[in-house]
Amino acid sequence: MFELIIISTLNGVLFGMLLFLMASGLTVIFSMLGVLNFAHSSFYMLGAFFGFQLSRWVGFWPALVIGPALAGLLGAAVERFGLRNAHKNGHVAELLFTFGLAFAIEEVVQMIWGKSPVDYRVPVALDFPAFTVFSTNYPAYKMFMLVVSVAIFAVLLISVKRTRVGLIVQAALTHPHMVGHLGHNVGRIFMLVFGFGTALAAVAGVIAGPALITQSNMASLFGPILFVVVVVGGLGSLPGAFIASLLIGLLQTFAVSINGSLASVLGPLGPDHAFLSDIWNVTVAQIAPILPYVLMVLILIFRPMGLLGTRET
């Protein structure tokens, strides 16, 4: 039991930090540009595939840098040449543009790497158990993922709160016109932020690829959960996104490891009807995928502004 709690907590925090790597970019992009980037998880997927391809050519460590950089450049180009054109048609058009983009990216990935999972392996240098909890070996690669995501989080926090660039970005979030009057190129800031946000998502992709499955549907698996994170945390709130990421990461990981169902708790009281017995016999592990959405609906009913949001959603 204790073992399960430790392992699940570690895995949950890890999953949460991965979510936050993506949700942070999504939140900042949403706050600045007012557009919800539907294709954000597609850049996460691109990161994973770039990581896979580059680690074949130049090795994992260069890939960890080059992959996100490529994805970031692509993201900046998307903002500059696509989103900015769609912007004049309003927010709905922007959202739809990113929706179409997500669709197209998935197709392009399928076109290049196929529909089946690619063989993206943990680098040899990290392919050993880091420590043993009771009888379970905890892989070093997962610790590495955790360290990378926590480090990025720390750097992000410091650069947003303590540096000049961070100040300008914060100001551009709320007062883009004033920032423009002060002589900053707001368009370029937007482009850079978009590129940086997508690069962060790609980092998550590069490091998550070997641990999860690198496949062309990974964007559509992750995308909706990202939106749940953003809604639960509160629209446009970075600390909210952080808490919600961890919350959802832990929630899902713990749910997956619990095998109980109503039937196992209440035993023979089970109903005869087929439909009800479905609900009766379903295990907590089975409903793990829908838990984030249940959480989102509950939040919307009881706290529509999200955990730390200031605007009512």
């Binding site: 769609a86 709905v92 197709e107 809604v231 479905d278 609900i279 959405y293 609906v297 009913i301």
Partner: protein, 433 residues
């Protein structure tokens, strides 16, 4: 819409207006009856049935997006649940030998869609815009994931099946042959489209547009935008359920894909490509999208990529959709400037088509080298057989794309000038505000 003090048109305009008003619907009915006599092949009938279902679905979607300004990514929930309930309803009716014929079954789907929209809508429609979009996506994922868990009702991955011929036969129609299904779908399509048109003419329909354009002022005139959005959501759910029910009858199966994001995407694509600002937009879009997906999927394995690219182009370059593009030309045509504009279009068409051809050729070459490598080097693009390993073909692709773009840029500027000129003249003649 813009001028509140303008007198409302009389409910039953006389003479020419009456003929025009009812004539369109009668003409539509005549066309629907005549279609299978002209195209009587089985494939054509199947295509028409699919288009009909798609029209209802896309139009129900447009109640949300076009008329009330709510961008939904989860409209397939109501379509899918309508389909599942219709299948279960058909199985029950067949088992109990009830006196209910097949053409009434889509109503089961409609009521199912309505019920679930009533249940899920109140929370979803609290806000519009981006928030609504995210919530609709979350609810859609919730329902779609639940469908895989509740196996006895949704049948898991395989779905559940039915037999449409087991229901009560009326007028000797067994509804086995596709032609009978076609007539049923056509009838429901006409009914649903008329009903949805009627909805847009009610005061509530007008308030929907007001909520889309300026929810704050709607509150000042004493309406609650939330309630209006909720009602729109319920109506949209009802018609989506009808479409789902028809689809269930057509395929005799319902599975979890009915509820999925891809299905929601089809409605969005159809409505938006057709044009959300016009009533006929989604009809045009549904016909276009359904036909294109059938044709393209025969021609190429990456048809969905082309689809996504078409959608992106529409979003960026023609946010009014196909219908919007056509309607934009109306004042120009009335000002008699169409010919000079067409000349500019023809000039621009050549390099643009060359560029697109180069891009398509490039995509097909890449596909042949990656996914379909086993099918040999010969590809067939626009009916021309080419060898995808031949460097000349690669050069041709790149050359067409680059040269087409370089030349195209100039001609696009020329088109823009021609358009400005035509619009100026139309404005001078008073056809364009």
């Amino acid at each position: 819409m813009s001028d509140i003090s303008a007198p409302l048109p009389r409910p039953h305009p006389l003479g020419y207006e009456t003929i025009r008003f009812y004539g369109i619907w009668i003409a539509a009915a005549v066309v629907l009856v005549a279609l299978p006599r002209i195209f009587s092949s089985g494939a054509a009938l199947t295509t028409f049935s699919l288009i009909g279902i798609s029209i209802i679905f896309a139009m129900s979607y447009n109640i949300l997006l076009g008329q009330t300004g709510m961008l939904s990514f989860g409209h397939a929930v109501y379509y899918g649940l309508g389909g599942f309930l219709a299948i279960h309803g058909m199985n029950m009716l067949a088992a109990s030998k009830a006196w209910i014929p097949l053409p009434l079954v889509p109503l089961i789907g409609g009521v199912a869609g309505l019920t679930f929209a009533l249940l899920l809508g109140w929370v979803s429609t609290r806000r519009s815009g981006t928030v609504f979009a995210m919530i609709s996506l979350g609810v859609a994922e919730l329902v779609a994931s639940s469908a895989l868990i509740l196996r006895s009702f949704f049948g898991g991955e395989a779905g559940i099946t039915t037999n449409r011929t087991q229901l009560l036969h009326i007028f000797g129609w067994s509804f086995g042959p596709q032609i009978q299904i076609y007539y049923m779908v056509a009838g429901w399509t006409l009914l649903a489209v008329i009903a949805m048109y009627a909805l847009t003419r009610t005061p509530w329909g007008r308030m929907c547009n007001a909520v889309r354009d300026n929810p704050e002022r709607v509150q000042f005139v004493g309406y609650d935008p939330h309630v209006i959005r909720y009602m729109a959501f319920c109506f949209a759910g009802f018609f989506a359920g009808i479409a789902g029910g028809l689809s269930a009858i057509n395929f005799e199966i319902a599975n979890a894909a009915y509820l999925g994001a891809a299905q929601s995407g089809t409605a969005l694509f159809a409505a938006y490509i057709g044009g959300i600002g016009f009533f006929i937009g989604p009809i045009v879009g549904a016909i276009f999208v359904t036909y294109l997906s059938l044709v393209l999927s025969d021609l190429t394995s990456v048809w969905q990529l082309y689809f996504g690219l078409i959608f992106i182009c529409v979003v960026v370059f023609a946010p009014g959709g196909v219908a919007g593009l056509l309607m934009k030309h109306r004042p120009v045509v009335r000002a008699g400037m169409l010919l000079s504009l067409l000349k500019a279009y023809l000039v621009a068409l050549v390099p643009t088509a060359a560029m697109l051809a180069g891009l398509v050729l490039g995509i097909e070459i890449i596909v042949r080298h990656t996914v379909n490598a086993t099918e040999g080097p010969n590809i067939n693009v626009f009916g021309i057989g080419l060898n995808s390993t031949n460097p000349t073909v690669w050069l041709l692709s790149v050359g067409l794309a680059v040269a087409g773009y370089a030349l195209g840029r100039r001609t696009w500027a020329y088109v823009a000038r021609a358009w400005d000129h035509a619009a100026t003249i139309a404005r001078e003649k008073g056809y364009l505000a």
